[in-house]
């Protein structure tokens, strides 16, 4: 399967069955519309691009699957240039590639095998080789050998339906990670060996997206996107919470991206950007895309003004979008010769 993404709207309007984009992952040096390798997991499989998103191929072609395999989550090694490792979550286990996504090996979880719904990789992966997999019904699995073997660690994780995982940028020292579940948020401060519930001001709503500040050690900020109650921020590791963008983000928040003082939150109606730590918000989604629901974003250049994102839609299309100030631009990708 090859999709070409250009400036036409046709692809966007052409709804593919089972095509919802779940997640992106890009190799270091990925430049939208120019060069570089990235992956997009979707309801019907996994796509790969080698040219900065200008064209996409079926990354699982080698498997010759008899039916479509939903790939729900993705992570790429922080030292991808060196080890070429990519992990993709699917029903029953993990797809693991050590050849930059050119060929894949399935690692099955113990039966009855769960759906892998979220993945997180240690920032210190080069030395600790640690990857976490959140699953539906079986909690969190951990691998300490770069995804070869997996074991579940669910002490205190009182909801085993994990929807999102986020790992501290300072994981090597604080061993902290968060798990968003169908009924709330849990935190581990010992590398996933045990979990404690983080009390949320809204009770037991599902936490479907998570983000940790890149400056977490100093600012202690985490962000959660709930299913029904919008976007929330805690500046003290989850002790106290405030709601952000109350007027704009009341729908399910599908994804959150955080940089130093900027935030990007994705919901059904927009791509909301804040350049002032969450005080004011602008919808960056071009008007042409109104009515189409974004399900995932990739921001290889960060989320500052002028940066270009790749947006994945629920109908399976992938489009570049630029974060503009008051005026919102839609980018055109020209395929290079």
């Amino acid at each position: 399967m090859t999709n070409k993404l250009d400036s036409d709207d046709e692809l966007l309007n052409e709804e593919e069955t089972n095509a919802l984009i779940y997640a992106f992952a890009a190799a270091p040096g990925f430049q939208i519309g120019r060069a570089g390798r990235a992956f997009a997991s979707h309801k019907g499989g996994l796509k790969r691009t080698e040219d900065g998103g200008q064209s996409w191929q079926d990354a699982l072609a080698d498997f010759a699957l008899s039916e479509q395999l939903p790939v729900t989550s993705l992570v790429i090694s922080p030292v991808f240039d060196h080890d070429g490792l990519v992990f993709a979550g699917a029903p029953g286990g993990i797809l693991r590639s050590s050849l930059g996504g050119k060929s894949w090996k399935a690692v099955l979880f113990p039966p009855p095998s769960p759906l892998v719904s979220a993945l997180a990789i240690s920032p210190n992966f080069a030395s600790d080789e640690t990857v976490f997999a959140g699953t539906m019904e079986d909690g969190v699995f951990i691998s300490k050998d770069a995804g070869e073997k997996w074991a579940s660690w669910n002490f205190g994780l009182l909801d085993l339906n994990v929807l999102a995982l986020a790992i501290s940028p300072n994981y090597i020292f604080d061993e902290t990670l968060f798990a968003g579940t169908e009924t709330g948020l849990f935190r581990s401060t010992n590398g996933g060996r045990a979990w404690r519930e983080v009390e949320l001001p809204f009770g037991f709503d599902a936490v479907i997206s998570l983000a940790i500040s890149p400056n977490y050690t100093e600012d202690h900020c985490i962000y959660i996107g709930s299913e029904d109650l919008g976007l929330w921020e805690s500046a003290d590791e989850g002790e106290h919470w405030i709601q952000l963008a109350k007027n704009q983000l009341s729908d399910p928040v599908n994804a959150i991206l955080v940089s130093r003082n900027e935030l990007l939150a994705v919901n059904a109606v927009g791509l909301w950007h804040s350049a002032d730590g969450g005080t004011s918000w602008i919808n960056c989604l071009p008007k042409e895309y109104t009515g189409f629901e974004i399900s995932a974003v990739l921001a290889p250049q960060g989320i500052g003004f002028g940066a270009t994102l790749l947006a994945g839609f629920t109908n399976g299309s992938i489009k570049p979008v630029m974060i503009a100030g008051k005026k919102v631009y839609r980018q055109t990708i020209k395929k290079r010769d």
């Binding site: 019904e137 909690g139 002490f155 010992n190 404690r196």
Partner: protein, 551 residues
Amino acid sequence: MRRTSHSKPKKDFQTPGIVFQPQVAEGMQHGFDKLVDLIRPTLGPLPHIVAIEKVIERNQLPELLDSGGTIARRVIQIPNRLEDVGFMFLRQALWRQQEREGDGTATTAVLFQAVFDAGRHYLVAGGNAMGLRRHLENGLRLITTELERQTTQLYGKQKLTGLALTICHDDEMAKMMGEIFDIIGAYGQLDVRKGSGRELVREYIEGMFWECGLYSREMANDEHGLRANLENAAILISNLEIESPEQLIPLLEMAVKNEIKQLLMISQTLSDRAMGLLLAKPNRERIFVVAVKIPGISLDVQYDAMTDLAILTGGRALSNATGATLENVRLEDLGRARRVWADKEFFGIIGGRGDARLIRQHIAGLRQRFRNVKDTDEGKRLLERIGKLLGGSATLSIGGHSPISIEARMELAKRTAVTMRGAMRDGVVPGGGIALLACRKALHPFLKNAKDTDELAAYSILLQALEVPFRTIVSNAGIVPGSILADAEHRGPGYGYDAVTRQVVDMQKAGLYDAVSVVKGAVHTAIASAALALTTEVIVNRRNPPEMLNP
């Protein structure tokens, strides 16, 4: 305990009688002093062992103890009758402190002695016992409030290891305890067992398990024929007595009709004939049933287990008491779990499909009950239930060089666990007696504004008593405490004496903490008991009072 004479001490427990002051206070004080002198050497981090001769196997080595509560418990009577009253009065207070908090008995003992001695001097000089008691109890409230103000929470393996070390003074055990409690938390389940080697070994078990095994090993389905493993299993939760195979038919028909392939059946009894039906090959191919006994013997424990299982798996408890039978079991009555296992001794559940919200609310309710419970045994049962529901447990196998040392280490591990749970629930204060020293400033204004001599005496007594644990720790390290106390006070709040490094240090930075529950418990027990003892005027002696094996 060293005996002063080889001849058997003469007892005077035959004659009944009534004893008045001043003999009452004098006799009791001798009893108090004997017990406090016995326990005082164990206060602080440096090992001071009390050797107690064995009662039955006298040819064996004496028992070597460093726990005040256990030492006190080993003495069941002392020769002098009035002294025995005092000894047993304090023994009971110390043992209860140990049962409740796991630690702090030596602190309790020295504090008690300081308050009682000074209080008695005041009463001999003409003070009012009831007035003194009232003001001592007021002071106790102030100290408790001040301790709460100093309280902080401990997180992380490293800090918890430091805390464990201050409790057990055993490096290997502290390391294990730090890791275990970092994982299982304040309410997690920890089983301390006798190990086979010389070292400590810890093991973590995922999911919940109960100590009730398979009715028959023929139900096992693993390759060794020892364990049954079920996947996506339905669970019948009951305490029903299943006598005949006919009773099972409606349940099995309903399960097969609803395409249930694997079923865990929990019941009070299962007759051989009923078991035969379940094990018959044609039936087993249609539905694989594993049967285990309901956990617990008493109805209360069974009911609790059924409640927990029902919430955990989203099923309904079918109880004998409500007249439930297997005739009208519906699909929605069955619980569900991702995995179930059972062997000869235990059965376990991993990934129960109960509502995660209800499970958390249920745990919160049990925690609330645990905080309010007075009965120690009920507290233990509640803790066990909470631990199970949290989704995992730890086992610590204790090894050692001899059966005596293994027993002693098991006892120590259990005490350490109790104290660590308290510290994680309620927080910690700076250790080494520093937290009590810091409480003095809360009493100074009341001393200054005292309205009568009873109040003045009460606050003076408490101010001096609060120094005694610190002084004792320093003395036990072989140092004269006066200059160390002055040095610590000169350096400022939070500084105390590290008896191991023999330096005055910032106690928190050095990782030297005490569980606030232990310190509060010790202060409360010591002051309230001393105040009560000071108001005791008359003792009535009965003929041949029983020896106190238990408090």
